[in-house]
């Protein structure tokens, strides 16, 4: 397709949709699907037929609308309403009268109003399985613009000027990385999208891939043009079956319309995207392990330098970015770097997607400008801790991150501020805890995760996580001493300074941060054999005497 054809297709589809009486968007992302939204969608389709409204009312699947706690969610275009907890029984009313009034969700809720959607803008407004939906929402226009109006260097300059930083957690300036890859001498270069989202509690990337896959494809193609690559890979974790299917379909659709493949928009630039599926290893989210995995080798990280931009896949310069990073690109190119740089803070531009989970009223997916305070995210947008319980801590960054206590709730969410209080931005998982969480057990949980996921190559991580977990476990059983905690801290230093890769280097973070803010809990466990949260069971003194462990 040519650029003109793209605009024509957009106009045609927009008119077609405008001509409908009602378009019913039924969320078919994993969360709502697990609450029966596929059955619901079928019920709505049946009702459309039954009420003789074909051609006037349409139902389609759509991506995550964010308020997962009220799943299944449905949005109706006729009145712009969102409905929650929808059942197949509501299908009739949805088709006939616009929806069950008692299930309406107030669109003026802070949950919706306080968000700023950029990468999630289409989620809930497009059918992820339909290319025309994406085109109707300005899809592929950024790619067309880049190919027709900009040189690769200009694209890179725009990305640099935008201030976009890697959304996978490390926050490396994206434009700089692109520039590094583009500078490499080799004719063969690769673009890789890291979709191995492995942090417990993180579902941002999953939702983006399920809800708006074309956005990621477009972002990758623009990157390919900018750095001089003809081949892209999306590495998706194997557990994301729905995302994989949506991506595969999206790639095929794009190829069919020559939006991917050779001579895109009749330009000499061609870009192929293939999927590579993970096989259950968190460590394969580490970029060098990911490269090894795509190459068909064991997913062990390797020493850096050399870094992937210099030597990555099959020794070639490789650009590796996170799903969310790529998802930001189309808008940056289409609307300009100045627009993007106008959102967020001085050092952290743009928005960030967070997955709210745990003891929070509005569990789900949100997107906020960088610099929004944690308090605002949790209490205004998130709706606070349900049941009137007291907030205790918020965990960001998964097993590489830290717990943030109430005293730091006014911390703005940006890369530097979170690091300063002992946590990290991470990929966006945000787990909320109340008084029923034992912080020692939380540290133990994340260390257990690292024990399972360590690749085993280097001694500090392979053996050190096991020993750290053992100490934490014994603390929760009241069997540990001060000397054990001292050992824990020594091991934490070793892992941080001596591990081969980020998994081992950051594995101590949850322990270190809970020791920093919740040391009293550790002490209570050890000295008083008491768990304030009431979670830990302590063996009787007699059992300890018998040396059962």
């Amino acid at each position: 397709m040519t650029q003109e054809e793209l605009f024509e297709a957009q106009e045609r589809e927009q008119q077609r949709q405008a001509g409908l009486e009602n378009r019913i968007y039924c969320c078919t992302a994993a969360g709502c699907v697990s609450c029966g939204s596929e059955t619901l969608r079928q019920a709505i389709a049946d009702q459309i037929k039954a009420q003789g409204k074909e051609g006037k009312v349409e139902v389609c699947g759509t991506g995550c609308m964010g308020l997962c706690s009220r799943a299944p969610l449905v949005r109706t275009s006729s009145n712009g309403m969102i409905y929650g907890g929808v059942t197949p029984e509501d299908a009739e009313s949805l088709v006939a009268a616009g929806g069950p009034a008692d299930k309406r969700i107030d669109p003026q809720m802070p949950f919706f109003v306080r968000q700023h959607k950029v990468v999630l803008a289409n989620s809930g407004y497009v059918d992820p399985e339909r290319l025309l939906d994406y085109i109707a929402c300005d899809g592929y226009q950024a790619l067309a613009k880049a190919l027709s109006d900009m040189t690769p260097q200009e694209v890179i300059a725009e990305v640099k000027a935008s201030g976009l930083r890697g959304r996978g957690g490390a926050g490396y300036p994206t434009g700089l990385k692109w520039e590094l890859v583009a500078k490499q001498p080799a004719p063969v270069r690769y673009v890789v999208c890291n979709g191995d989202e492995g942090d417990p509690g993180a579902f941002m990337d999953r939702s983006m891939l399920e809800g708006d896959p074309h956005r990621v494809l477009e972002g990758m193609a623009i990157a390919g043009y900018a750095v001089g690559a003809q081949q892209g890979y999306i590495y998706v974790r194997g557990e994301y079956g729905l995302a994989i299917r949506r991506l595969q379909a999206a790639v095929k659709q794009a190829e069919r319309e020559r939006l991917l493949g050779s001579h895109i928009f009749e330009n000499s630039f061609g870009f192929r995207i293939d999927l590579r599926i993970g096989a259950g290893a968190f460590v394969c989210g580490e970029e060098t392990a990911l490269v090894a995995s795509i190459e068909g080798r064991r997913g062990n990280p390797r020493q850096r330098p050399p870094y992937p931009p210099e030597s990555g896949l099959w020794g070639k310069p490789t650009l590796i970015n996170n799903v969310e990073t790529f998802a930001n690109i189309p808008d940056i190119i289409r609307r300009g770097s100045a627009w993007f740089a106008g959102i967020g803070t001085a050092e952290s531009k743009g928005t960030k997607v967070f997955a709210l989970a745990g003891k929070i009223a509005n569990t789900g997916l949100i997107e906020v400008p960088m610099g929004t305070s944690l308090r605002s995210i949790l209490f205004e947008i998130g709706g606070g801790v349900p049941g009137g319980a007291a907030f205790k801590a918020a965990q960001t960054g998964g097993p590489s991150g830290g717990c943030i206590p109430a005293e730091h709730l006014d911390t703005p969410v940006d890369y530097e501020s979170l690091a300063a209080i002992g946590s990290i931005m991470g990929s966006g998982g945000l787990i909320v805890m109340d008084e029923s969480s034992c912080m020692v057990d939380v540290a133990r949980f994340f260390m257990d995760f690292c024990v399972d996921e360590s690749c085993g190559k280097c001694v500090p991580c392979r053996a050190g996580t096991v020993e750290m977990h053992d100490v934490l476990l014994r603390i929760t059983r009241g069997e540990a001493t001060e000397a054990d905690v001292a050992m824990l801290e020594e091991l934490a230093v070793l892992l941080r300074e001596a591990s081969l890769c980020g998994l081992g280097q950051t594995a101590p973070n949850p322990v270190v941060s809970t020791l920093r803010y919740f040391r009293r809990e550790y002490e209570e466990h050890m000295r008083e054999r008491r768990c304030a949260a009431g979670r830990c069971r302590f063996e009787s003194a007699a059992q300890v005497q018998g040396g059962a462990q």
Binding site: G546, G547, A548
Partner: protein, 180 residues
């Protein structure tokens, strides 16, 4: 100190060990005579003392493998000035702890049921035979240890060096210590 002679009291204990460390101790040969002038040897498997009243220096051979060891080592620690883990079994668990990998139940099964030639069955023991612990443990996992003598067994020279250093109030040389 021994009230009669004023000399420091040296005691030795063996827990779950083969007594090889004690044999190495006896390898001090003529130095035993010198030692006799420097210390008062108290409770020890090599002497006839039946209880453990206390010591200034106690050498502990063997790992903590049964309930009696556990009880005894706690009493020994409480009544000792300096406690030394004596030999690899005490320091690391060593051969005594090899059964940990298999689990107590399997070990008892193998010994008393599968390989029984006369009467098959794990003995009850009653109140007399100590209960085997689920996990054999090096001494420092159970009580606080002040010094370690590595080796299986530690060479007599190392034993001599440690005891005389302690008696002189010096730090032991630690040269050449190795496991095995």
């Amino acid at each position: 100190m021994d009230p009669l002679t004023g000399r420091p009291r040296l005691a030795t204990v063996w827990l779950g060990g083969c007594s090889g460390c004690h044999m190495s101790f006896l390898d001090l040969d003529e130095r035993l005579v010198d030692l006799a002038r420097l210390v008062e040897v108290g409770a020890s498997p090599l002497t006839d003392h039946k209880d453990f009243p206390g010591a200034d220096i106690t050498l502990v051979e063997g790992a903590v493998a049964n309930s009696e060891h556990l009880e005894h080592i706690r009493a020994v620690r409480a009544r000792s000035g300096v406690l030394v883990s004596f030999g690899d079994c005490a320091v690391t668990g060593n051969v005594t702890a090899m059964r940990n990998a298999f689990g107590l139940e399997n070990v008892l099964n193998c010994s008393y049921r599968e390989n029984a030639t006369v009467v098959a069955g794990v003995p009850e023991g009653g109140a007399v035979v100590p209960r085997l612990l689920e996990r054999v443990r090096p001494v420092h996992e159970v009580v606080e240890v002040d010094y370690y003598l590595q080796g299986c067994p530690p060479p007599a020279d190392a034993i001599w060096d440690l005891i005389t250093s302690l008696l002189d109030g010096r730090a032991p040389s630690r040269e050449g210590g190795r496991f095995g």
